[in-house]
Amino acid sequence: MEEAFEEEVENMLTHLKELELSSRCLEPFYELFEKPEEYILRMDIPGADRDKIEVRGRGRIISIYAPCNYSVPYRDGVRTCATCYRLEVELPADASWEGARQRYKEGVLEIRIPRSVKEYRIKIE
């Protein structure tokens, strides 16, 4: 069971890496947090060009495109290179683009998306 899981993980990591190398586009590490009043989407995009980061919302999909200059040593003195980060995340149904805001700090992009569903407070008698 554990071996099958590890094989699956290894395949997934290999596939992801192959995709990154062939497309020269990196999939950033990201986290989505749920708070009572908003969703917080954070992703690590070091080396991104701050002024060229594009964040778009379409339906429930948020897309992030960020040009970067990624280059690390690889075989034969060649460097693995990438030209951008790209990510698409499906948000829950109550995410509302109105009032969404973002900041980029120390290579981390954070996007805060308000939740549209209003909550009603029920008084305890």
């Binding site: 993980v9 990591l13 992801l16 890496k17 990196l26 590490f29 986290e31 947090f33 954070r42 690590d44 070091p46 080396g47 990624y70 280059s71 690390v72 700090k105 120390e106 290579g107 981390v108 954070e110």
Partner: protein, 255 residues
């Protein structure tokens, strides 16, 4: 399983007795890895041994045409002091953690040295923290006193530790090895050079060194890119561990 010792080799003649063993294996935010790699590369460390990670398939690291073990020991000299650094290019699988911890404490016991285990402690609000706090914990009150005397750290009071660091603490008790843990608030799933810089600053104060941290901060973004693949593998590994425990508080005593 907790009694097995991972095979290790090191050149005793090139390792100074009493030299602190700095353990920086890949865990939360790769803080230990960045710290160990930065100290080894900025001080020109020599690889003097390795620990074989038992549950990995055969892997060698090739760096500038040199064939190396992935989990290596480096000896570095700094201002008339020597350190032994433990660094790894690959994460330690959870089922190898006990045996790796036993090797670390056995090596420390052989050279009569304390272990200084450095790493990150997950902090969800890390992005809002300019200067992450460093927490220390030790099985030896004298080491805690020395650490607190730097005025740079706080005592780790309540919480849980998991992974290699927990295994080192338990293993050290059996071998009578002194261990100081230095854990800094860090991103959990992103490499965190800023947090590693705080650890280097603390080590400078603790060990009377003056390793500059500015170059580490200047190349932070490049380092994060360089560490991407290792971070992804480490996160996959961490997901097999009860890492969320490190965000929880123990129920404590009922008085």
């Amino acid at each position: 399983m907790s009694g097995s010792v991972a095979p290790y080799v090191f050149e005793k003649k090139r390792v100074e007795q009493g030299a602190p063993v700095i353990e920086g294996l890949p865990e939360v935010g790769l803080v230990g890895t960045i710290t160990a790699a930065y100290i080894a590369s900025s001080l020109g460390g020599d690889a003097v041994g390795y620990i074989e990670i038992p549950d990995l398939p055969p892997i060698v690291t090739v760096l500038e045409s040199r064939i190396l073990e992935p989990c290596r020991l480096y000896s570095v000299s700094v201002e008339q002091r020597k350190l032994l650094l433990l660094y790894s290019d690959v994460p330690v699988p959870p089922r190898s953690m006990w045996s790796i911890a036993n090797s670390v404490t056995e090596i420390a016991s052989t050279i009569k040295s304390p272990v200084i285990s450095v790493g990150g402690i997950p902090e969800p609000d890390r992005l809002d923290i300019e200067k992450p706090k460093v927490y220390v914990l030790s099985n030896d009150e004298e080491l805690v006193r020395m650490a607190l005397a730097t005025d740079y750290v706080q005592r780790f009071e309540n919480g849980y530790l998991t992974g290699v660091k927990a295994a080192i603490l338990k293993s050290a008790a059996k071998r009578d090895v002194r261990v100081l843990l230095a854990l800094v608030q860090s991103h959990m799933n992103y490499p965190d050079p800023g947090a590693a810089a705080e650890v280097v600053t603390f080590l400078n104060k603790l060990l009377g060194m003056s390793i500059p941290v500015a170059p580490l901060l200047e190349q932070a973004e490049q380092l994060k890119m360089q560490m991407r693949d290792l971070m992804r593998r480490t996160s996959t590994n961490l997901s097999k561990m009860p890492i969320g425990l490190q965000l929880e508080s123990p129920p404590g005593y009922i008085k």
